[in-house]
Subunit: 350 residues, 2 copies
């Protein structure tokens, strides 16, 4: 199985490159450690890329789109047809992720991995539909185990194709009306926290819908009984196609030493699945931001990741990750472009 | 007095432009409010610039450099000659602010407002020295009232010159060995908090030096008795020349509806002085980041400003502000470039 090979190909971070990057940071004309997270980031990137001076110039945001059978339970503020409508909006460049990726100098790759609508061939759309949306997880498994594996495989292949186009760093994005519901279900299943502690308002539902959403997820977990020690079991029973695809992207990126910028709530659910299937993949993940979704903090803690930004975002699409590119690139530019104390003739600490 | 005219020229935020920007945000293809701080920022910028679609393309970081008589009390980890050495490093492009401003597409303007060393004319150096560093504030006023006014005036003039070159937004930066000491003194004087609660380790002093630094500031406040209701009194007695210059920059920028991105601890001390002298100037300030310096949080609270970033930075020079430019520009691009629900044919919330 290709996924297993990919998982086995993931290497540990390169300690020698990290040490060299740390030594370099300490020679630059600034008090040691004074650039805080940027210094740490540059050292992590050196370890990921096995390169003392890592480059993160060629950037892509991979947005996976899919529908969710559970949406018919009334868990979202938007109608399900918005998934397909937003795919068209992405392709025309009108969505938030288009604007923010353009600013960051990143390309946007849109993948239909499970939208309910059949699209005609469209310029820019990667058509890798596994099925026309998941089944209703409140009534049984969202996917079969084989379907979830197929969606993971799509993610691996999409990342590999992107890597062939030239890729230094990748960000993950999602589109799927209803997808905070499977993400919350994954969070509850893998952290063991009560459902109410990991469910938020998604695109903006009212109190009544929030109550319903919590009950739907509780029902889904009761009906499916996902095994927290088997990430694939969790994924196929209470996950989603775009979540599976993004987990595949993360695993494949890690196997190629390509850092992954994880967006918000949905992407972090995918990261939990990826880390469950391939624990070493976690080292290649950078958490872009702290989402408004209440479960997100617990998920990041579970992964032991600290978010770079906290801007009250709750949009998805990879928007937080696209914003974080700038900080990540800044960290590498500092390492490469600053003068040392010696070069600049600046006196060091007494 | 020109400063007073400048203060009187500061207008309130433009409510009509803010309302129009808010209405526009609500038509864009995303759940309302889902871009959190970015949406709020775009609306604030619209109010500052009196423009529904504010542009923040032409950017400058103004770095004011000066020395501090109080440095001879052993309050810094670095020797005082580093101030002048870093000015030369800025001019050669080797410092962190050069790297981060370049990435942000911002020019860097270096001003000698009070470095102890006399510089020859150097390309790029704006020579506006008020005096060769302040006097030792632990023994008496750091400056006379007239010297502080002169330094404020330098800030006003430097901003006006920058505005003539074309300027949509400005960031403030500082260089001055010892300058967390006057900044902490300003923070203690204006917030009323005990000195120990607003003094940190600056460039990285040890426990013993921290004890000494606290005592030096306590002595400075006891000797000078700055009047918290008179910002100019606080500034000249326990401030610094670069802090005065940056306060002048902020006031002049506000008078021209140019948003000011306030860097970290030193710039925020300048912002407290600016807001003390010109309360309306506060509305034109954007707090770039939460510094490691423990007093910074109380200062931002005093100003009622919420930082955009929290990256454990403690470098100064305007580095945090340069990083924040990207988020600020993102907020305006969202407003201008995203498609509306109507344009994109996307169904709105049910």
């Amino acid at each position: 199985m290709q996924l297993e090979e990919t998982i086995n190909a993931i290497q540990l971070l390169d300690e020698a490159a990290m040490q060299a990057a740390r030594r370099c940071q300490d020679t630059l004309t600034k008090p040691r450690g004074s650039l805080g997270r940027l210094e740490e980031l540059s050292i992590q990137l050196a370890g990921m890329k096995a390169d003392t001076f890592p480059a993160v110039e060629r950037k892509a945001v991979i947005v996976m789109a899919a529908d969710h059978g559970v949406a018919r339970e009334g868990v979202s503020a938007y109608p399900p047809e918005v998934t397909a409508q937003m795919v068209l909006n992405f392709l025309r460049g009108g969505a938030a992720i288009n604007v923010l990726a353009k600013q960051a100098g990143a390309r946007v790759t849109i993948v239909d991995i499970g939208v309910a609508v059949e699209f005609d061939p469209l310029p820019g759309l990667i058509r890798r539909k596994v099925m026309c949306g998941t089944r209703n997880q409140a009534e049984g498994p969202a996917m079969t185990r084989a379907e979830a594996q197929q969606a993971l495989q799509v993610g691996v292949e999409v990342l590999n194709e992107e890597a062939q186009r030239g890729l230094d760093i990748v960000a993950t994005g999602d589109m799927g009306i209803g997808n905070t519901t499977p993400s919350s279900a994954i969070a509850a299943a893998l952290t063991g926290l009560p459902v109410a502690q990991v469910v938020g308002r998604g695109t903006g539902i009212d109190d009544q819908s929030l109550e319903r959403k919590i009950k739907v997820i509780e029902r889904s977990l009761a009906v499916n009984r996902p095994d927290p020690n088997d990430a694939l079991d969790v994924l196929h029973k209470v996950g989603g196609l775009e979540i599976a695809g993004l987990a595949g992207v993360m695993i494949a990126a890690a196997s190629q030493r390509i850092p992954v910028v994880v967006d918000g709530f949905i992407s972090t659910a995918a990261a939990m699945i990826a880390a469950g299937l391939a624990p070493r993949a976690r080292d290649y993940l950078i958490a872009a931001h702290q989402s408004v979704e209440i479960g997100h903090q617990a998920m990041l803690r579970h992964l032991n990741l600290a978010p770079l930004l906290d801007l009250n975002l709750r949009l998805g699409e990879g928007t937080g990750a696209a914003l974080a590119f700038h900080l990540i690139e800044a960290s590498t530019r500092i390492l490469r472009e600053m003068a040392t104390f010696d070069e600049a003739g600046v006196s060091d600490k007494e």
